[in-house]
C-alpha cells in the first residue's frame, strides 16, 4: 500500500536518501534495519509525510501522499515518532483520545465511534487499567504502549513506528513487538517499524529492508536475505548467522570485529578470531549437536558479546527443536 518513487530526502544541506524506489507489502510486518545514520528514520519520516521529500513521491495506495489532505492521511496511516514529547499532566485516556483528532472538528469533539476506538485501542495495547493515570508518571514501557494505543485509536490500515523498542528493557521490547505482531496477524494491519536489533527484526518481520548510506541493500523475507554477507555489507560487522533455537529464524551472532587489546582469560575459543569466524555463512549442519548448550543466546538478546564465535555455530536446527520453551514464538498468538 506504501511505495516510493525516486525518493530524494534529507535535512538542510545533507541528502540522506538518494533516489529510493521501494514497495512496502500490504498486510505484512516490514522492518527497516541498518546502521546509525543510514537513513532508516528519514525513510520512515518521509513515508509518514513528516518530512517533505526534495524529489520523488511517496505513494499511498497509488496516490501521491502530498496530494492528500493531512487529515485523510491520518485516517489511513498512523505514525509513532521516535521519542514523542510527553505532555505534562495529560492522562492516558486523554492522550489516547488525541489519536481521534483526524475524525474530530471543533464543533464535533467526541462521538460514540471515538469512545469505542479509544476503548479498543487501550485494551489492545493493554493500558486500559492505566486510563486515569497521568502519562508522565508511567514507566518507559507503559508510556510506549500508551503512544502505540494513541496511534491505534486512529484506526488506520497502516502503522509506522520509529524505533518503538528503544529505551525499553528486553521484556518490554518483546511485549511491544508481540503487540505489533498481533496487530498484523489478528487484525490484518500493515506494520512498518525501524528496529535496531537485527535478531528481533529477523524474528518478527515478514519483510526486511536493509539499508546502508541512504540506499536499500536488500529486501525480502528475513530467512531468505539475512546472511553473514548481508550483515557485513550493511554493518561492516563480521558475524555468524545461525538458526534461532526457538523459531528457526536467522540469528545473528557478532564475531570479533577487531583484534581486542586484552582478551579476557579463557574467553577465546581456539578457532576465535576475525578471519576465521567471518566466513561461516549459515549454521553448519554437520557440526556436532549439544556441544555447548549453556552458551546459546536467548532469542532476542542480540548485541551481547559472545564468549567465542565458534561456539554457537556448532548448534544445529534439529537440536533446537527439542528445546521449545525458551520463549514464546509470536506465531502462536
Amino acid at each position: 500500500m506504501l511505495a516510493t518513487r525516486d525518493l530524494v530526502a534529507g535535512y538542510d544541506e545533507r541528502t540522506v536518501l538518494d533516489g529510493l524506489d521501494l514497495t512496502l507489502p500490504a498486510d505484512a510486518f516490514t522492518v527497516i534495519v541498518g546502521p546509525n545514520a543510514c537513513g532508516k528514520s528519514t525513510l520512515l519520516r518521509t513515508l509518514a509525510r513528516l518530512l517533505t521529500p526534495r524529489r520523488g513521491t511517496v505513494l499511498l495506495d497509488g496516490t501521491a501522499i502530498r496530494d492528500l489532505p493531512t487529515r485523510e492521511v491520518a485516517r489511513r496511516l498512523g505514525v509513532l515518532p521516535q521519542s514523542p514529547l510527553v505532555p505534562e499532566g495529560v492522562t492516558v485516556a486523554d492522550l489516547v483520545g488525541r489519536g481521534r483528532q483526524p475524525y474530530q472538528r471543533w464543533w464535533r469533539q467526541w462521538s460514540a465511534q471515538d469512545a469505542e476506538a479509544v476503548d479498543r485501542a487501550m485494551t489492545l495495547a493493554d493500558v486500559a487499567g492505566l486510563a486515569d493515570r497521568p502519562v508522565d508518571t508511567l514507566s518507559g514501557g507503559q508510556r510506549q504502549r500508551v503512544w502505540i494505543a494513541m496511534t491505534l485509536a486512529q484506526d488506520t490500515e497502516a502503522l509506522l513506528l520509529d524505533e518503538p523498542t528503544t529505551f525499553l528493557d528486553l521484556a518490554h521490547q518483546v511485549e511491544v513487538l508481540d503487540l505489533l505482531h498481533r496487530l498484523r496477524a489478528d487484525r490484518g494491519r500493515t506494520v512498518v517499524a525501524v528496529l535496531h536489533d537485527l535478531n528481533q527484526a529477523a524474528r518478527y518481520a515478514d519483510h526486511l529492508i536493509a539499508m546502508r548510506a541512504g540506499r536499500v541493500v536488500a529486501t525480502g523475507p528475513p530467512r531468505e536475505i539475512l546472511t553473514a554477507e548481508l550483515v557485513r555489507d550493511v554493518f561492516g560487522l563480521d558475524c555468524v548467522v545461525v538458526p534461532c533455537p526457538v523459531t528457526g529464524a536467522p540469528l545473528v551472532v557478532p564475531g570479533r570485529t577487531s583484534p581486542s587489546p586484552a582478551p579476557s582469560p579463557g574467553a577465546a575459543a581456539p578457532s576465535a578470531g576475525p578471519s576465521t569466524a567471518a566466513p561461516v555463512p549459515v549454521a553448519d549442519p554437520s557440526a556436532g549437536p549439544g556441544s555447548s548448550a549453556g552458551s546459546v543466546p536467548v532469542a532476542g538478546s542480540a548485541g551481547s558479546a559472545p564468549k567465542g564465535p565458534a561456539a554457537p555455530a556448532t548448534r544445529n536446527a534439529t537440536d533446537d527443536a527439542d528445546r521449545p520453551h525458551v520463549g514464546p514464538y509470536p506465531k502462536g498468538h
Partner: protein
C-alpha cells in the same frame, strides 16, 4: 457513550463539545467571586454605597447613588473586567504556543511595542485620541517583528520566546531614549501610560476591546479546541493529521491581536496575562491553561487590582499596573523557585 475521564460531554444537536468538569467548577467559582468583587468595587470609595444600594442602582430602580455607581464606578469596573479577561485570553494563547509559563504579551514584546508607539504619540504632542491607535499599531508591528524572527523554524517554542525577549529589550531601550529626550510633563504622562491605569477610562475603551473580542469570537471558539494539540510535539501532531505550524501561527496571531488591542486601551498593565492563565491552569489541573477560566481569572485579578489601587492608599490612587506588577513579581519568583518544570 462516555467522554474521557474528567471530561463532560456537551451535546447540542450536531455539536458535541468536551468540557473538563473541573473547568466548569472553576469557571462557576470565579464567576461568583467576580460578581462579589464587582459589588465590592462599586460600593467602596467616597462616598461609600451599601451593597444593597449598589444592587438596587444596578437593577435600575433609581436611587440617589445612581450617579456614583452607574456613571462613575461602573464604566471603570466593566473596563477592568473586560481588559482583564482579554489579557487572560491573550496570555493563554501566547503561553500555549510558546509552551512556556513565562511567555506573555509583556515578556515577548507586544506590550513594549505598544508602549513605544504610545510614548512617541504622547511626547510628540499628538491628539489624545491618537494614542490608542498608535499603541495598537505599535503592538502589531512588534508582533510582526516577533513572528518574523520566530517563524524560521516553524515558530518553535524556544525560538519564539527568545525572539520575544530580544524584541522586548530593544523596544524598551528605544522607549527610554524617547522618554529622556521628551518634555518632562509629556514624559510623565507617557510614564503613567506605560505603567497602565484605568483611571479616567470607561465605556469608549471597553467598546473597543469588546469589539475586538466579538470580531475574534469564531477564532476563539476554534482556539479553545486547537489549543489541545499544542501539547503534542510537531511530528506527533502531524501524525494525527494536524498542521502544527499553521496552527501555532494562527493561535499566536490571535493572541498578539488581543494583547495589542487591550494594551492600546488600558496601557501596559503587566502580569495579568502572565499570571491569570497559570492560575487557571493550576486550578483546573490541566496540562495547558483553559481559555474561559483564564479569562474569568484575568477579569477577577484586574478588578481586584484596580480596587486595591483605588482604596489601598486613598485618597492617593495607585495605577492598576503597579498593583498587578506587585502580584506578578512575587509570582514569577515563585515559578522560578519552584523549579522550572516544563509546563504550559
Amino acid at each position: 457513550m462516555g467522554g474521557l475521564p474528567g471530561r463532560a460531554l456537551v451535546r447540542v444537536g450536531p455539536v458535541s463539545l468536551q468540557v473538563r468538569r473541573r473547568a466548569v467548577l472553576v469557571a462557576l467559582a470565579s464567576t461568583v467571586l467576580l460578581a462579589a468583587a464587582a459589588v465590592l468595587s462599586l460600593s467602596l470609595g467616597t462616598p461609600y454605597v451599601a451593597p444593597a444600594d449598589v444592587l438596587r442602582a444596578l437593577s435600575g430602580a433609581g436611587t440617589p447613588y445612581d450617579l456614583v455607581v452607574l456613571d462613575l464606578r461602573l464604566p471603570r469596573l466593566v473596563l477592568a473586567a473586560v481588559a482583564g479577561a482579554t489579557f487572560g485570553l491573550a496570555g493563554t494563547l501566547i503561553q500555549s504556543v510558546a509552551r512556556n509559563p513565562i511567555a506573555s504579551p509583556d515578556v515577548v514584546g507586544i506590550t513594549q511595542g505598544a508602549g513605544l508607539a504610545a510614548t512617541v504619540a504622547i511626547t510628540t504632542g499628538a491628539a489624545a485620541v491618537l494614542v490608542a491607535p498608535a499603541a495598537l499599531l505599535g503592538g502589531l508591528v512588534a508582533a510582526l517583528l516577533l513572528l518574523a524572527l520566530g517563524a524560521r523554524h516553524g515558530l518553535a517554542a524556544q525560538r519564539f520566546v527568545l525572539a520575544g525577549v530580544a524584541v522586548a529589550f530593544a523596544l524598551r531601550a528605544l522607549t527610554e531614549v524617547v522618554l529622556l529626550s521628551a518634555d518632562p510633563i509629556d514624559g510623565l504622562r507617557a510614564q503613567i501610560w506605560l505603567i497602565g491605569t484605568l483611571a479616567g477610562k470607561g465605556w469608549t475603551e471597553t467598546w473597543w476591546i469588546v469589539g475586538t473580542l466579538v470580531a475574534l469570537l469564531p477564532v476563539l471558539a476554534w482556539a479553545g479546541w486547537a489549543l489541545n494539540a499544542t501539547a503534542l510535539d510537531d511530528d506527533t501532531a502531524r501524525g494525527v493529521g494536524l498542521r502544527p505550524v499553521a496552527r501555532r501561527i494562527g493561535l499566536a496571531a490571535t493572541g498578539v491581536l488581543l494583547a495589542a488591542a487591550v494594551t492600546a486601551q488600558v496601557g501596559a498593565v503587566d502580569f495579568v496575562a502572565l499570571v491569570a492563565p497559570q492560575l487557571a491552569r493550576r486550578l483546573v489541573r490541566a496540562e495547558r491553561p483553559p481559555l474561559v477560566c483564564a479569562a474569568l481569572v484575568g477579569a477577577l485579578l484586574l478588578v481586584l487590582a484596580d480596587l486595591a489601587g483605588r482604596r489601598l492608599f486613598a485618597p492617593t490612587q495607585l495605577p492598576a499596573g503597579v498593583l498587578t506588577a506587585a502580584i506578578g513579581g512575587p509570582y514569577l519568583m515563585f515559578l522560578l523557585v519552584r523549579g522550572r518544570r516544563r509546563s504550559a
